[in-house]
Amino acid sequence: MQTNTFFEMTGIHKDYIMGGEPVHVLKNICLSIREGEYLSVLGPSGSGKSTLMNLIGCLDTPTAGEYILHGRKVDEMDETELARLRNREIGFIFQNSQLLNRLTARKNVELPLIYAGILPKERRRRAEAMLERVGLKDRMDHLPTQLSGGQQQRVAIARAMVGNPSLLLADEPTGALDQKTGAQIMELFGELNRENRTVIMITHDMKIAAHAKRVIRIIDGEILEGGGADDA
């Protein structure tokens, strides 16, 4: 196991203005993650865990504090740099898979590669390989509406993985799935983590969080436990 620091957050604050009043969503977050870690962020709704995920996923920048990912200062990046970083380093898995219903499973998986400037033939090859990997070889030309919830989530995982990102970031990945399908997805996550990929999972479900090797709890915008760079 490598022990390099993957990212480090120090003194992160995030404020939103709501109805003219500033709301402190995240307060003094310090979080350090090493490469190849399997982490879950556990917290009730409204705890600020989604905001934390947006910050980790470089979808947003903090109001104050420092965020260094792979040695690069994310908090100082502009929108275009953030987009490039997301494209290369981060694979997103959303709660309700967020597939484009007009595109086939394969085309959905190809999407991140389009923005990476990969040529069509190579895109197709990589997307097919990744769909095969998640066990959807015979469903590649189906539209999302023709797939079950579990299959849709697998397509979403294939899409997250196709660009070979170093971080897999999942927001309630099993939220819309039944227990059995959820367990299958968790198994897939474990497998991906064993390939030395960093996996971060946001959830409110303690059982799901337990799949991770390290769990941090977040309540009212503050990390209660597990924030330090302790041994996993």
């Binding site: 947006n54 996923g57 979808l59 947003d60 929108e79 275009t80 987009a83 490039r84 997301r86 494209n87 290369r88 997103f92 959303f94 309700n96 967020q98 484009l100 007009r102 999407l111 991140p112 389009i114 923005y115 990476a116 400037g117 990969i118 040529l119 069509p120 899409r159 660009g163």
Partner: protein, 403 residues
């Protein structure tokens, strides 16, 4: 750097494909949206092509009737109201002049037996007129120098007059009374001498008589209107100046006694008028294009709102704002261009039909086509800009949250 350029092309290609998918995915809505542009372009092309077809035909008939001709009309002064035959001889003697045809109008009551027709246009011409137009006489003979010199009471009549006075009768040698004076019909002529459009302007007379006879009936020695035929290859402006100089001397250099008009200048005026006409019409038609553009803008704004999640997702997956903007710009551009191309096709079809109906030549006006295509491209880009910009500025977090 090469990678970046390749990436841009890959992305652009994908944008075109996705845009076509979206346009196809909303067939009815897309069609209704591009209908505005289509109608605008159709109108622009149909109007411009038809006007240029009409003006082309007019210009052709003007140059066929007006080439190498000056028409002179005289208002005169107190002492002299027109030119005499001797003055005409002087003008005929000019280097650039081949011949002169006087035109003396009489509005006469014409009768034969019980048939009476009033307001018939009778014109006095000379022998040279018939020399110039050898195909004019269909039957019988033309008026000649003997008729001019002796002021004979011979006349040639148009088909209309034959139908009125000599239905089923051979008119040659018969007598026709013009203002009560008996004339002998010596020939029949084709009244449509200069083509349909030309006769509209020149007005063709029904009965031609020797000009000397016409002067006698008018009890006048003076001629107030004549046409000067120039030698081949003569510059009409120079010849016009020579004729004017000669006539200035005849009218003692008094101003505003006469006007000399070269047909070429009428043609130019006509062309300018037609040009103004077509830009005016194109201007009106382009209002339709602007309305169409607003339609496209409206649809694109709706599309952006509908596809908020898609935009957010694409941004999360690494699309930079510029790429999102280009995607939506391409979509509105394609939508507008499809409308424009359909409009070009419909406009050409419509103007072809209009030109057939108006019996003018159909001219494929490449300028109008370029204008139509260029306009629709511009409309797509201009009216697509704001919606595309709105899309590119969406915050991915907000966009995904709306799901």
């Amino acid at each position: 750097m090469r990678n970046a350029i390749r990436g841009t092309f890959v992305m652009l290609g994908e944008c075109f494909r996705m845009s076509l998918d979206n346009i196809r995915g909303n067939k009815i809505r897309s069609f209704l949206t591009l209908l505005g542009i289509m109608i605008g372009v159709t109108a622009v092309i149909a109007l411009i092509s038809t006007v240029s077809g009409v003006s082309g035909t007019l210009a052709d008939s003007f140059s066929s009737m007006g080439a190498g001709r000056l028409s002179v009309s005289i208002t005169g002064n107190d002492l002299k109201t027109g030119v005499t035959p001797e003055d005409l001889a002087e003008i005929t003697a000019l280097d650039s002049v081949r011949g002169v045809v006087p035109s003396i109008s009489l509005n006469g009551r014409v009768s034969r037996g019980k048939t009476v027709e009033s307001g018939v246009s009778v014109s006095g011409r000379n022998a040279y007129y018939f020399q110039r137009n050898p195909d004019l006489i269909l039957q019988g003979r033309a008026l000649n120098f003997i008729d001019d010199d002796n002021s004979t009471y011979a006349c040639v009549i148009s088909r209309k007059m034959v139908d009125t006075f000599f239905f089923g009768v051979n008119p040659l040698g018969e007598t026709l009374y013009v203002s009560g004076i008996p004339f002998t019909v010596v020939g029949r002529y084709e009244e449509d001498d200069g083509g349909g459009v030309a006769s509209m302007f020149s007005g063709s007379p029904d009965i031609l008589i020797p000009y000397t006879t016409a002067m006698k009936i008018n009890n006048s020695r003076e001629i107030s209107s004549f046409t000067v035929y120039l030698n081949d290859g003569t510059d009409s402006a120079g010849a016009s100046a020579a004729v004017e100089e000669k006539m200035d001397a005849m009218f003692d250099y008094e101003e505003d006694c006469f006007t000399v008009t070269a047909m070429t200048s009428i043609e130019e005026t006509m062309e300018t008028m037609m040009g103004m006409m077509s830009s005016l019409l194109a201007g009106i038609a382009s209002i339709a294009l602007i309305v169409g553009g607003i339609g496209i803008m409206n649809m694109m704004l709706t599309t952006v709102t509908e596809r908020t999640v898609e935009i957010g997702l694409k941004k999360a997956l690494g699309a930079i704002p510029w790429q999102i903007q280009v995607q939506f710009l391409i979509e509105s551009f394609l939508l507008s261009m499809i409308g424009g191309l359909l409009g070009v096709a419909a406009g050409l079809g419509l103007s072809y039909i209009l030109c057939r109906v108006l019996e003018t030549g159909f001219v494929l006006n490449t300028g109008a086509i370029a204008l139509g295509v260029g306009f629709s491209a511009a409309v797509g880009l201009v009216f697509g800009w704001a919606p595309a910009r709105k899309a590119s500025r969406l915050n991915p977090i907000d966009a995904l949250r709306t799901a």
